[in-house]
C-alpha cells in the first residue's frame, strides 16, 4: 500500500461521506424537532434511488437525470409529509418504543411496496450526463461524478447551516430542538413546523438516494444498510447537530476507506484482510465515541427521558387459576407428539414456537422489568447459535455439550456489551444495542474462514434420539419451561425487585443503596444467557445457522412479540411469542408480501392495542369485574 493509494481512497471516502451525510442529517433534524427516530429513513433513501432510476431511464437525457433527481427529492419530501400527517401525529405522545416500532413497520411496508413496483432485480441507472468521464488524479482515474458528490456534501451542509442560522424557519427549528414545549407555548404552529421538518428531512434522504443512481445499483437491501449507517453517523456526530453529522460522516467514510486501502496485511505471520473489517470498524468507532462522549462529538445531553407509559400494576404471585391454566397448557404440549404422528409438521411448528417463547421471555426480562429497550437481542441468539454450531463444526463436541455451551457464549457477549449499554438509556441504548448486534452479525458475515460467512454453518444435526421430531420437541419444551420459570422466579426475588426499583426511579434506588447500573448489567447478562439457550436450540432444530437468521430482523421480531403480548405483564411475552411464531409459520409464509403484512400488524398493534393482547384482556377483565 502506498501513500498515493491511501490518498486516492481518502478522496473516494469523501464522496461516500456525502451520501452518508444526506441521510444522516435528515434523521438528525427530524429527531431534534420531533424527538422521533425515524427508522423508515433508510427506506426513503432507498426509494430515492428507485424513483430517480425511473426518471433517468423513462425520460432520459439531461432533463430525465438531473431534473429527475430534483423531482425525486420533492416527491420523497411529500411522502415524508404524508407519513408525518397520517402516522406520526397520532403517536407523538406514545412511549418511545412504540414510535420506534411504528416507523419500523413503515420500513417493512415500503420494502414490499418497492419490491412490488420495481421488482427484485438490482437496477443500475445510466451515467450522469455531463459527468460521465473521469479525472486523472495521482496516476489513477477518479470518476468525475464521485468528485461532484464529494463537493455536494459540503455545499448542502453550508446551505443548511445558513438556512438554520438566518431564516425564520431555521430559527424555529433550532428553538424547537432546544425546547419544543416552549416553542408551542410561544404560539408557533407546531403541526406545520413538524410536518415541514419531516418533509425536509425526507427530501434530503431522497436527494441522497437519488444522487447514488449513477454510482450504485438500486437494491432492496439498501434500506436497512443505509439506516444502520445513518444511525452510526448520527450517534457519532451527536443528535440534532448538522455539522456533527457531516464530521461523523467523513470520519466513518474515511475509516472504511482506510480499511479498504490497507487491504491484506501480514501481522506476525497471519495475513489479515482489513477490507473485510469495514462493518466491524464502523461500529467500533461508534461504540468508542459513545463511551467517551455519550451524546456524540458535537451533541448535547438530551433532557430526561419521558416515561408517559401507564404505570404498571404491582406483580402478584400466580393465582390458582393461572397455575391451573399453565398446567393444562403444559399437559397439552406434552400430548402434542401423539397428535403429530399424523402431521409431522406440527413438531417443527411446536419447536419454532417454543424457541420464540424463550427468545421473547428473555427479551421481556430486560425490556419490561428492566426498562432497557434492546434493539439488538438477536446478538445473544446469534452468539448462542454460532457458539453451539462452531463447537460442533470445529471440535465435534456432543450435542449436550454444545447446548450447554451456547448460553455461556451468549453470557460472555452480554456481559461485555451490557457493560456499555447500561450506561445509556432511551433511544441511545436502543441504538447502541442495535450497533452491538450489527457487530456480531458483521463479524459472523465477514469472518468467512471461521464462520462460513454468508453460507453459515451446516450439518449441525442432533444426535439420536433427538434426531426425531418428537424427542427434540420434548427437549425444547423442557428447556423452555425451565427458562420461563427461572426468569419468573428471579423477577419475584429481591434481584427482580431491585431491577424494577432501578427502572421506576434510578435516583431513589441509588438513595437506598442500590447500584442500579450493576443490577441492570447483571440483568442484561442473565437475559443474554437465557437467550443463548434459544440460539443453541435453533441451530440444532434447523441443522444449520446463517447470518441471515441473526440479522436485525430477528431483534425486531422479538420486540413485536413482547409488545404483541403486552410489555407490562409477565405472561405477555409467552402469548406474544406463540401468536407471532404461529402467524409467521402459517400465514406469512403463504404470501410473498409477508413484510408488508407484518408491518400492518405492527401498526395496528401500536395504534389500537398499545397494551398488547394479554394487557387488553386483563384491562377488559378488570373493567368487567369493576362493573359487576
Amino acid at each position: 500500500m502506498t501513500l498515493d493509494s491511501l490518498l486516492f481512497q481518502a478522496i473516494n471516502g469523501l464522496s461516500s461521506a456525502s451520501g452518508l451525510f444526506f441521510i444522516a442529517v435528515g434523521l438528525s433534524l427530524i429527531f431534534g424537532v420531533t424527538r422521533i427516530i425515524n427508522l423508515a429513513h433508510g427506506s426513503l433513501y432507498m426509494m430515492g434511488t428507485y424513483i430517480a432510476y425511473s426518471f433517468a431511464t423513462k425520460i432520459g437525457g439531461v432533463i430525465g437525470f438531473w431534473g429527475g433527481i430534483l423531482a425525486t427529492a420533492i416527491i420523497v419530501g411529500c411522502i415524508g409529509a404524508l407519513i408525518e400527517i397520517l402516522l406520526l401525529r397520532r403517536i407523538y405522545r406514545a412511549p418511545e418504543l412504540f414510535q420506534l416500532l411504528a416507523t419500523f413497520a413503515l420500513v417493512l411496508v415500503f420494502n414490499d411496496m418497492t419490491h412490488w413496483i420495481w421488482g427484485s432485480e438490482d437496477l443500475l441507472g445510466p451515467r450522469a450526463p455531463g459527468l460521465a468521464g473521469s479525472v486523472e488524479l495521482l496516476g489513477r482515474r477518479l470518476p468525475s461524478y464521485d468528485l461532484f458528490l464529494a463537493l455536494a456534501g459540503p455545499v448542502v451542509l453550508l446551505i443548511l447551516h445558513f438556512t438554520l442560522k438566518l431564516t425564520r424557519f431555521g430559527r424555529l427549528i433550532r428553538a424547537a430542538t432546544q425546547d419544543r414545549e416552549m416553542v408551542g407555548a410561544l404560539g408557533v404552529n407546531q403541526a406545520v413546523l413538524f410536518t415541514s421538518v419531516f418533509a425536509l428531512g425526507a427530501a434530503l434522504a431522497g436527494l441522497g438516494g437519488a444522487l447514488q443512481v449513477a454510482r450504485e445499483p438500486a437494491t432492496l437491501a439498501t434500506d436497512l444498510i443505509a439506516l444502520g449507517d445513518a444511525f452510526v453517523v448520527v450517534v457519532v456526530g451527536g443528535m440534532g447537530s448538522i455539522t456533527g453529522a457531516y464530521l461523523a460522516a467523513v470520519i466513518i467514510a474515511e475509516v472504511k476507506a482506510l480499511c479498504i486501502g490497507i487491504g491484506v496485511v501480514n501481522l506476525g505471520g497471519i495475513s489479515v484482510n482489513f477490507s473485510k473489517f469495514t462493518l466491524v470498524a464502523e461500529f467500533l468507532v461508534m461504540a468508542i465515541v459513545l463511551i467517551v462522549r455519550p451524546y456524540g462529538l458535537l451533541g448535547k445531553p438530551q433532557g430526561a427521558v419521558r416515561s408517559i407509559a401507564e404505570p404498571e400494576e404491582p406483580i402478584r404471585a400466580a393465582t390458582p387459576m393461572l397455575k391451573l391454566l399453565a398446567a393444562v397448557v403444559l399437559g397439552l404440549l406434552l400430548f402434542l407428539p401423539v397428535l403429530a404422528q399424523s402431521s409431522p409438521y406440527l413438531m417443527i411448528l411446536g419447536i419454532d414456537v417454543l424457541i420464540a417463547v424463550i427468545f421473547a421471555t428473555s427479551l421481556h426480562f430486560i425490556m419490561g422489568p428492566g426498562g432497557m429497550h434492546s434493539f439488538g437481542h438477536a446478538a445473544y441468539f446469534g452468539l448462542g447459535a454460532y457458539g453451539a454450531a462452531l463447537l460442533v463444526k470445529w471440535l465435534a463436541v456432543p450435542m449436550g455439550f454444545a447446548l450447554a455451551a451456547a448460553p455461556l457464549v451468549a453470557l460472555a457477549g452480554a456481559l461485555l456489551f451490557g457493560w456499555f449499554a447500561v450506561r445509556l438509556s432511551g433511544v441511545y441504548l436502543a441504538m447502541l444495542t442495535l450497533a452491538f448486534a450489527q457487530i456480531v452479525w458483521a463479524a459472523v458475515f465477514q469472518w468467512e474462514g471461521f464462520t462460513g460467512g454468508s453460507n453459515g454453518v451446516i450439518g449441525v444435526w442432533p444426535k439420536p434420539p433427538f434426531n426425531q421430531g418428537w424427542a427434540f420437541f420434548l427437549l425444547t419444551l423442557a428447556l423452555a419451561t425451565v427458562a420461563v420459570l427461572v426468569l419468573r422466579r428471579v423477577l419475584f426475588a429481591p434481584f427482580g425487585y431491585a431491577m424494577r426499583a432501578g427502572r421506576d426511579s434510578p435516583l431513589r434506588a441509588e438513595a437506598i443503596g442500590i447500584d442500579v447500573k450493576r443490577i441492570h448489567w447483571l440483568a442484561f447478562a442473565i437475559a443474554g444467557c437465557i437467550c443463548g439457550v434459544a440460539g443453541g436450540l435453533f441451530a440444532f432444530a434447523k441443522g444449520s445457522i446463517s447470518p441471515e437468521s441473526i440479522h436485525v430482523g430477528r431483534s425486531i421480531d422479538g420486540l413485536v412479540m413482547v409488545l404483541l403480548g403486552g410489555i407490562q405483564t409477565l405472561t405477555g411475552p409467552i402469548v406474544g411469542a406463540s401468536v407471532f411464531a404461529l402467524l409467521q409459520d402459517t400465514i406469512m409464509r403463504q404470501t410473498e408480501y409477508w413484510r408488508a403484512l407484518l408491518g400492518a400488524v405492527i401498526l395496528v398493534l401500536v395504534l389500537a392495542f398499545p397494551s398488547g393482547i394479554v394487557g387488553a384482556f386483563s384491562n377488559l377483565w378488570r373493567r368487567w369485574r369493576g362493573a359487576s
Binding site: P311, P494, A498, D504, R508
Partner: protein, 259 residues
C-alpha cells in the same frame, strides 16, 4: 462530638459560586433547619452532603470519615437516610414492597435470585409503616396514594437503614398547613425516640421557628447566621436578606459605576 461536620464547603457552576466556604455542624439528636431565600445554595449544599454533587473543595465529615464526593448509595450505607423535595415511590410496587425494598438493600439481599422477596423483611416493613400510620395501606399499589401519604411512606423508607442522620429536602413542600404540622410532629417524635439527627431545608417559617432546635441561614452561597430561633429572629443580616432594608441595593450600586 458532632454527627456531621461540614468544613469550608464550596461549589461553583461556571462563574457562579453556588456554595462558598460554608461550615457548620450537627450535634447528636439535633433538629437543624437550613433556610435562605431562593438561590441561596441550600439545594446545592444538600446535594453535596447526600452525594449527588461532588464539592469543588471542603470536607464533609460523617463522624470522622470524609464523605465528600462519595456516591449516594455509599453514603446511605454509612447511615444517612434522605427524603426528596418531590416525594415519589417505586410506582410498580405496593406500599409495603417499597419499604421492603430499602430493607432488602440494607440487609444485603439485593443479589439473591431465588427466594421470593414478598416474604422477606415483611414484618419489619409493616412495623415501620405502622410507625408512620400507613399500615392499613400496606398492600395497596403505591401509585394510588395521596401526596401526603407518599411523604409518610417515604419517611418509613428513610428510616429503614436505621440512620444516624436524616436529610430532608423541603419535607413539607406541596402540603396543606395542617398536614405540614402533623408530618413534622411525626418526624420529630420518631427521631427523638431513635436519637437521630436531622438536617432539613424548609420554606415554611412557621415550621422552622416552631420545630427546629437550631437554624442556619444561607444567602448567596454563604453562611450568614447560625443560632437558635430567638437569635435568628433578632439577627439583622437575616432580616435584611428576608425583608430587605434597601441597604443591599445601596451596596450594589455603590460598587457599580453609578455616582
Amino acid at each position: 462530638m458532632s454527627v456531621l461536620a461540614v468544613r469550608q464547603l464550596s461549589k461553583a457552576f461556571g462563574g457562579v459560586r453556588a456554595v462558598n466556604d460554608v461550615s457548620f455542624a450537627i450535634g447528636a439528636g439535633e433538629f437543624l433547619a437550613m433556610i435562605g431565600p431562593n438561590g441561596a445554595g441550600k439545594s446545592t449544599c444538600f446535594n453535596m452532603i447526600n452525594g449527588q454533587l461532588a464539592p469543588d473543595s471542603g470536607a464533609i465529615l460523617l463522624g470522622d470519615r470524609n464523605i465528600a464526593g462519595m456516591a449516594p448509595r455509599a453514603i446511605w450505607r454509612l447511615g444517612v437516610g434522605r427524603t426528596f423535595q418531590v416525594a415519589a415511590t417505586f410506582a410498580s410496587m405496593t406500599v409495603v414492597e417499597n419499604v421492603q425494598m430499602a430493607l432488602l438493600s440494607y440487609a444485603g439481599d439485593l443479589y439473591r435470585l431465588w427466594r421470593p422477596a414478598a416474604a422477606l423483611h415483611r414484618a419489619r416493613a409493616l412495623e415501620l409503616l405502622a410507625q408512620v400510620g400507613m399500615q392499613d395501606a400496606a398492600d395497596r399499589p403505591s401509585r394510588e396514594l395521596a401526596y401526603g401519604d407518599v411523604k409518610r411512606v417515604e419517611l418509613a423508607i428513610a428510616l429503614a437503614n436505621e440512620p444516624r442522620l436524616l436529610l430532608m429536602d423541603e419535607p413539607t413542600a406541596g402540603m396543606a398547613p395542617r398536614e405540614r404540622n402533623d408530618l413534622i410532629k411525626l418526624v420529630k417524635q420518631l427521631v427523638l425516640e431513635r436519637g437521630i439527627s436531622v438536617l432539613f431545608t424548609e420554606h415554611s417559617m412557621d415550621v422552622v421557628f416552631s420545630f427546629a432546635d437550631r437554624i442556619i441561614v444561607l444567602a448567596r452561597g454563604r453562611l450568614i447566621a447560625d443560632g437558635n430561633a430567638a437569635a435568628i429572629r433578632e439577627n439583622t443580616q437575616v432580616r435584611e436578606v428576608y425583608f430587605g432594608t434597601g441597604k443591599t441595593f445601596a451596596d450594589g450600586t455603590s460598587q457599580g459605576a453609578a455616582p
